[in-house]
C-alpha cells in the first residue's frame, strides 16, 4: 500500500518553508475532496500558483494496485544512470504553463508552435525546481493498439529530449505512453483525431 493523500511530517516542514507551493497546491486539489487540508501549510498560496486547472481523473483516486515482488524485475544499477526510476504513483495535476502539444498523423515531430509551447514548459520547470512531471504520449484511434503504444512513447520521448536540450532537468521528467487507450475526443473524424494526437504533462505530488 502506498502512502497517498497523506503528508509526512518532513513534507509538511518543507511546505512551510515554501518553494513547493505549486506542488502543494496540486496536492491540495487532490486531497481536498476526501481529506481536510491542514491550515497554514501554504496551501492557499499553492492554489493561486497552480491556477486551479487540476485534471483529476477518477481512476487515479483508486486504492493502490497490489504491489508484487520486484526482486526479479531486472533493473541493472548501470541502467538507472540513463533515466530516473519512474515515481510509481499517479501524477495528478495539470498546470496551465505545461501546455498540451499536438502532432501530425503518424509523426512525433515537433512543430515550431510546439517548440514555443515547450519553451514555456522549460521556463516553468526551471522556476519549479522540485516538481516532477509525467510526459504522456497519446495517439489517435487509427492503427493497431500496439503500434500506437510505440508511437505514443516516441512522442513523449521526443518532447522529453527537446526539454532536456533546452536545459530542463532529465531526472524530473518521466515518460509514459497511453497509445490510443486514453482519447480525449471521440469521433471518427480529423477533428477528434487531431485532439487525440498529443503529449500532455501531469505533475506528481511531492
Amino acid at each position: 500500500m502506498k502512502a497517498r493523500g497523506t503528508i509526512s511530517g518532513a513534507a509538511r516542514g518543507r511546505l512551510r518553508q515554501g518553494g513547493l507551493g505549486l506542488v502543494a497546491g496540486a496536492l491540495a486539489v487532490v486531497v481536498g475532496g476526501c481529506a481536510t487540508w491542514p491550515s497554514g501549510l501554504g496551501g492557499e498560496k499553492g492554489r493561486s500558483d497552480a491556477g486551479q486547472s487540476a485534471l483529476v481523473s477518477p481512476e487515479l483516486e483508486r486504492d493502490a494496485y497490489p504491489v508484487l515482488s520486484t526482486k526479479d524485475a531486472g533493473a541493472d544499477p548501470g541502467e538507472r544512470a540513463s533515466r530516473p526510476e519512474p515515481p510509481r504513483r499517479p501524477a495528478v495535476s495539470a498546470v496551465p504553463q505545461l501546455r498540451t502539444v499536438y502532432f501530425d498523423y503518424d509523426s512525433a515531430e515537433l512543430t515550431s508552435e510546439t517548440r514555443q509551447a515547450l519553451a514555456d514548459a522549460v521556463e516553468w520547470l526551471k522556476r519549479h525546481s522540485k516538481a516532477r512531471v509525467q510526459i504522456e504520449g497519446h495517439c489517435d484511434q487509427r492503427g493497431t493498439h500496439e503500434y500506437n503504444l510505440m508511437l505514443g512513447q516516441k512522442r513523449a520521448d521526443a518532447v522529453r529530449a527537446f526539454l532536456i536540450e533546452q536545459g530542463a532537468d532529465p531526472k524530473r521528467m518521466h515518460t509514459i505512453s497511453y497509445g490510443k487507450e486514453r482519447p480525449v475526443a471521440s469521433g471518427d473524424n480529423e477533428t477528434a483525431w487531431r485532439l487525440n494526437r498529443r503529449v500532455r504533462f501531469v505533475v506528481y505530488n511531492e
Binding site: E59, S82, P90, D157
Partner: protein, 449 residues
C-alpha cells in the same frame, strides 16, 4: 432388448480398441486417404448424431451438447462440414436411432444422406462426476472404422473433451493435428480497465487471467504453454509482467523506466524479445523470463518494436519507422543484418512469423486514411496475399500452431472483436461478441494426452 444388443456390440468394439488414449495418430486403423491434401483441400461431410447416455450413467447432459461443439470445431478446421443443412440434423438423429434399434450401422442409409464420415458415441458420467466417452469414427463409403477410443475427463470440462475428440477426428482423417484444444490470449476491456483473458479456439469458455485493475496490453504465450507475458500499467509504468494461465502466480519481468512493451517468447531459445524505451528511444532487447540477461539488438534512432521470433530463433521480424513510416524488417537474432522487407503500402505493422517459418502475417494500410487489413508474405517480403478486405479495420494477426489458421481483431461491427480464419483468408468466423477484445495471441498446442 435391441438396445442391449447395440450396447454389447459397442462394448465389443471398445474391447478391440485401446481404452487408454494413445498419442494422436497412434490409433488410426484404416488409411482412408480421403482428405490428405492441404492445398486444394477436399471438404468432407460428417454426420454426428447426439451422443447417447450409456446405461448406468449417473446423470444425463443436454442432448446435442457434444455434437454442437464438435461440428463447430470441425468446420473451423476447414476440412469438414456438417452433412446437409443444420436443420437436417433431425434426419441424422433418425438414422442413428434406426441403427441403435437394429444394432448395426446401416451404411447404405448414411451414404444416402451423403455423409462421408459418421461419429457414433456414448457417454457415461460416474458417481464422482468423471465423464467417459466411447467414440467411434467411421468412413461411410468404405464402411470402416477409422478411430475408436475412450476419452475421460471431469464432467465440468466436457467442452475440453469435445475439443479433444474434434482434434482427433481431424488428425485421423487429414494427418494434421487439430487446433480445437488450443487457446487464445487477448486483451479484454473491463469497464475502465483492460485485462488479459483466455478463450478456447472457438471463442467459448472465456476466462480472466489477470486482475490488475489497470491497463494491460500485448499478451504473448510464454514458457511451457502455461505462462503469459504482457505489459501492465498496474504500478504506474508500462512494465512487463508474467502470469500463470491459471492465475496461480504473477511476477514482474521488466520494470525499467519507460515502455516495457510487446514481449514475444521463443520456445527454441527460452528468451523474450521485447521493446524497451529505457534509453530514451524504442529499441528491441532480448531477456530471460525474469528480465535478466538483457541484450540490446537495435541501435536506430527510430522506433524499433513489435518483435516476432522466427520458429528456430535465428531471426527476428520487427517494425521500424526509420524511413518515416512503420515497415516490417528482419534482423538476425544477435541484431546483425537488419533489413527492410516491405516496400509497398503506407504502413506495415504487427508482424507474426508462421510456425513453419516460411511466411509472416502482418497488418497493412495501403494508403494514408485507408482501413487496415491482414496480409501474409514470404520471408523475403514477396508473394503478398491479402487475407481480409474491408468492413472496417482488421489488425494484429496471430498464427495458430497448425500453420493453417489465424486469429485477428477487427472493428467491423463497431467494437473490436476477435475473428479466426484459415490462412488463405477463407472461413472467417467471429469468436468474441461482448465488450471489446483485441491484441490476440494464439497459444501453442497443449501437451499431448
Amino acid at each position: 432388448m435391441l438396445r442391449k444388443t447395440w450396447i454389447a456390440l459397442a462394448g465389443l468394439c471398445a474391447l478391440l480398441t485401446p481404452f487408454v488414449p494413445l498419442a494422436p495418430g497412434a490409433e488410426v486403423e484404416a488409411d482412408i486417404g480421403v482428405v490428405r491434401a492441404q492445398e486444394g483441400r477436399t471438404v468432407s461431410t460428417i454426420a454426428i448424431p447426439s451422443f447417447q447416455p450409456g446405461q448406468g450413467s449417473a446423470r444425463q447432459l443436454e442432448p446435442g451438447v457434444f455434437n454442437t461443439i464438435i461440428y463447430n470445431d470441425l468446420e473451423i478446421s476447414g476440412y469438414f462440414k456438417q452433412v446437409g443443412d443444420r436443420d437436417q440434423q433431425g434426419l441424422i438423429e433418425d438414422a442413428a436411432a434406426r441403427d441403435r434399434k437394429s444394432g448395426v450401422i446401416n451404411f447404405v442409409d448414411w451414404r444416402a444422406l451423403q455423409a462421408q464420415f459418421l461419429v457414433v458415441a456414448e457417454y457415461q458420467i460416474a458417481g464422482d462426476d468423471t465423464l467417459s466417452i466411447d467414440c467411434k469414427l467411421y468412413s461411410v463409403n468404405e464402411g470402416q472404422r477409422v478411430l475408436g477410443k475412450r476419452y475421460t475427463q471431469k464432467a465440468a470440462e466436457y467442452r475440453a473433451l469435445a475439443h479433444w475428440i474434434a482434434d482427433e477426428i481431424v488428425q485421423a482423417v487429414t494427418g494434421v493435428r487439430g487446433i480445437a484444444s488450443t487457446q487464445v490470449a487477448y486483451v479484454s476491456r473491463q469497464g475502465q480497465n483492460k485485462e488479459i483473458f483466455l478463450c478456447d479456439a472457438d471463442g467459448k469458455n472465456p476466462r480472466q487471467a489477470t486482475s490488475d485493475k489497470s491497463l494491460d496490453a500485448t499478451p504473448t504465450w510464454g514458457a511451457n504453454a502455461t505462462e503469459l507475458y504482457y505489459t501492465s500499467y498496474k504500478d504506474y509504468n508500462p512494465d512487463m509482467c508474467g502470469v500463470y494461465t491459471n492465475g496461480s502466480k504473477s511476477w514482474f519481468i521488466s520494470r525499467r523506466s519507460g515502455s516495457n512493451l510487446s514481449p514475444d517468447w521463443s520456445p527454441a531459445v527460452q528468451l523474450i524479445a521485447a521493446m524497451l524505451s529505457k534509453d530514451g528511444n524504442a529499441e528491441i532487447y532480448t531477456m530471460d523470463r525474469n528480465g535478466q540477461g538483457l541484450t540490446r539488438l537495435t541501435t536506430n534512432k527510430a522506433i524499433d518494436g513489435s518483435p516476432s521470433w522466427s520458429p528456430n530463433a535465428g531471426e527476428i521480424a520487427f517494425v521500424s519507422d526509420r524511413t518515416g513510416h512503420p515497415h516490417v524488417y528482419i534482423m538476425n537474432a544477435d541484431g546483425t543484418n537488419p533489413r527492410r522487407i516491405t516496400f509497398k503500402n503506407y504502413q506495415n505493422v504487427s508482424p507474426d512469423w508462421s510456425p513453419k517459418g516460411d511466411r509472416i502475417a502482418f497488418t497493412s494500410q495501403v494508403s494514408y486514411g485507408d482501413d487496415y487489413n491482414i496480409y501474409t508474405m514470404n520471408v523475403e517480403g514477396e508473394d503478398w496475399k491479402q487475407l481480409t478486405n474491408g468492413g472496417g479495420n482488421n489488425e494484429d494477426a496471430s498464427w495458430a500452431p497448425d500453420n493453417e489458421h489465424l486469429v485477428f481483431s477487427s472493428d467491423r461491427t463497431g467494437s473490436y472483436q476477435l475473428y479466426i480464419m484459415n490462412s488463405d483468408g477463407t472461413n472467417v468466423r467471429q469468436i468474441t461478441f461482448q465488450g471489446e477484445s483485441h491484441s490476440p495471441d494464439w497459444g501453442p498446442y497443449p501437451p499431448t494426452k
